[in-house]
Amino acid sequence: MKKEFTPRITSFLCKWCTYTGADLAGTARLQYPTSIIPIQVMCSSRVDPVFLIKAFLSGSDGVLIGGCHPGDCHYETGNYHARRRFAIVKSVFESLGLESQRLKLSWISASEGPKFARVANEYTEEIMELGENPTRKNIFL
């Protein structure tokens, strides 16, 4: 593990569930690392696969999608589609031999402040183990 490495985790959080969950974690004064860079989206299905790839190639050490639990989507089915798209990107990463651990999808509801803090901590640790994203330094991408 590299010292003094602060990961950057680009996080696309659904407005209705995970983003609110993150807010709850904050108001409850739960600790979670500054590595999480939240971007609010209206639904996890708003996240086009190319967002994940762009974030990865731009040097994000991790990319997180947070959405409502299956069945709870504000738009009824958005997160099911998000799950399929995420599975495709992950599969593309795996078949290209890229570190698919740098992509994460997590279902966190608006009431799950503690879960958000836990996921943020655990994922940050996982990324710390993994180290800096090699794309950060690459100039040929």
Binding site: V50, R85, S91, V92, I139, F140
Partner: protein
């Protein structure tokens, strides 16, 4: 469903059928490969008059353009059309129909057990004629012709899916003798009514192609292993796509990529100077034009599950990147997530349009 025994070469028999269909007015036009006598080359042609069929060579291991792609702009005309397609062209067309880019309604599809096609490189040099005898011999033995496209050698879907008429070319017959034309659908029976030839009740037997299938699968294993020879990861990816010149030729000949304006050519990925300045301040350098790897990875997520492995992309790449092999390999993985096979069934929705409540349990 019945079949017609072929007493001549498969290509000639298909040509006879097209002629019959045109003459009898059962179709208004035929889409088939044709020889261009003037320069020893081939092209895909839309033929409406029977005499113009003279130069047609329906069964030929050449693909100048994926016919599925071309068919999408013709099939909705309301005219009756018979199209001779390679299995991957037919599969590509099925994928396009799912995307509302074509219709089977007025189409009679004729396909054949495909031995693979030669790269355009060899076509332009007029070498096809010389290569054919050896090619025919190789496929008749159930072996894989050496100088065909890499994804053809690795293709296990050489038996047509969904064709109205399937012509067996390789396998049980040596380029012609003993080939059979299988009528798979009501439509096929209807169109061929009155067409001469000995009929039988023989059913298509895929097991006759087992040797070919085994050989192809072995080739596929080799091909897939070879594209990551420099090791996986970012370095391997850069070794593959690092020399891309950004012409997007792979995208424009891809039958699946039907978008008039690709996302990666759209204003979505135009950047302001501050973007470059920020990038520069972080890395000290960046590539211009940007987004070389991004384009290929993006395209992989957008369409790989529908990739039929036709190999057009590799053929048009000016710097020889094995695009098709990478897309085929990745596409098999992304399609397998949803038990999807591109081109298998026109009723099957493309994976990103549908979902199941219980699936992909390891995610999330």
């Amino acid at each position: 469903m019945s079949s017609i025994v072929i007493d001549t070469s498969a290509s000639r028999k298909v040509k006879e059928l097209l002629r019959f269909l045109l003459d009898s007015g059962k179709i208004d036009a035929a889409v088939t490969m044709r020889k261009i006598p003037e320069n020893n080359s081939y092209d895909l042609t839309l033929i409406t008059d029977a005499p113009d069929l003279d130069e047609a060579v329906p069964v030929i291991p050449v693909m100048t353009v994926n016919a599925g792609q071309v068919l999408s702009s013709i099939s909705t005309s309301g005219k009756k059309i018979a199209a001779v397609l390679k299995p991957c062209e037919l599969r590509a067309f099925v994928e396009l129909v799912k995307r509302e880019q074509g219709s089977f309604e007025n189409l009679l599809t004729i396909s054949y057990t495909c031995g693979g096609v030669f790269p355009l490189e060899l076509v332009k040099e007029g070498q096809i004629e010389e290569l054919l005898p050896k090619y025919d011999k190789t496929i008749s033995k159930g072996e894989v012709p050496i100088n065909t496209r890499d994804t053809c050698r690795a293709c296990e879907h050489f038996i047509p899916m969904n064709a109205d008429i399937t012509v067996s070319v390789s396998g049980e017959c040596e380029s012609g003798k003993g080939c059979v034309m299988y009528l798979n659908t009501e439509k096929a029976e209807e169109f061929t009514e009155g067409f001469g030839g000995e009929r039988s009740e023989q059913k298509f037997d895929p097991s006759l192609f087992q040797k070919t299938l085994d050989a192809r699968l072995a080739e596929k294993g080799k091909l897939f292993a070879s594209i990551t020879k420099d090791g996986p990861g970012l370095d391997g990816l850069l070794d593959l796509f690092g020399k891309c010149v950004g012409c997007h030729g792979c995208n424009s000949v891809c039958p699946i990529c039907y978008c008039l304006l690709c996302d990666f050519e759209s204003a979505n990925f135009d950047y302001n100077l501050p973007y470059f300045e920020e990038y520069l301040s972080r890395r000290g350098a960046l590539r211009l034009p940007p987004d070389t790897i991004f384009f290929h990875m993006g395209r992989l997520t957008h369409m790989s599950f529908s990739c039929v492995g036709c190999g057009m992309c590799s053929d048009v790449c000016p710097v020889g990147i094995p695009v098709a092999a990478v897309f085929k390999k990745t596409g098999e993985k992304t399609a397998a997530l949803f038990d999807y096979v591109p081109g298998r069934d026109v009723e099957e929705s493309i994976p990103v349009m549908v979902y199941k409540e219980e699936e992909l349990s390891d995610i999330g």
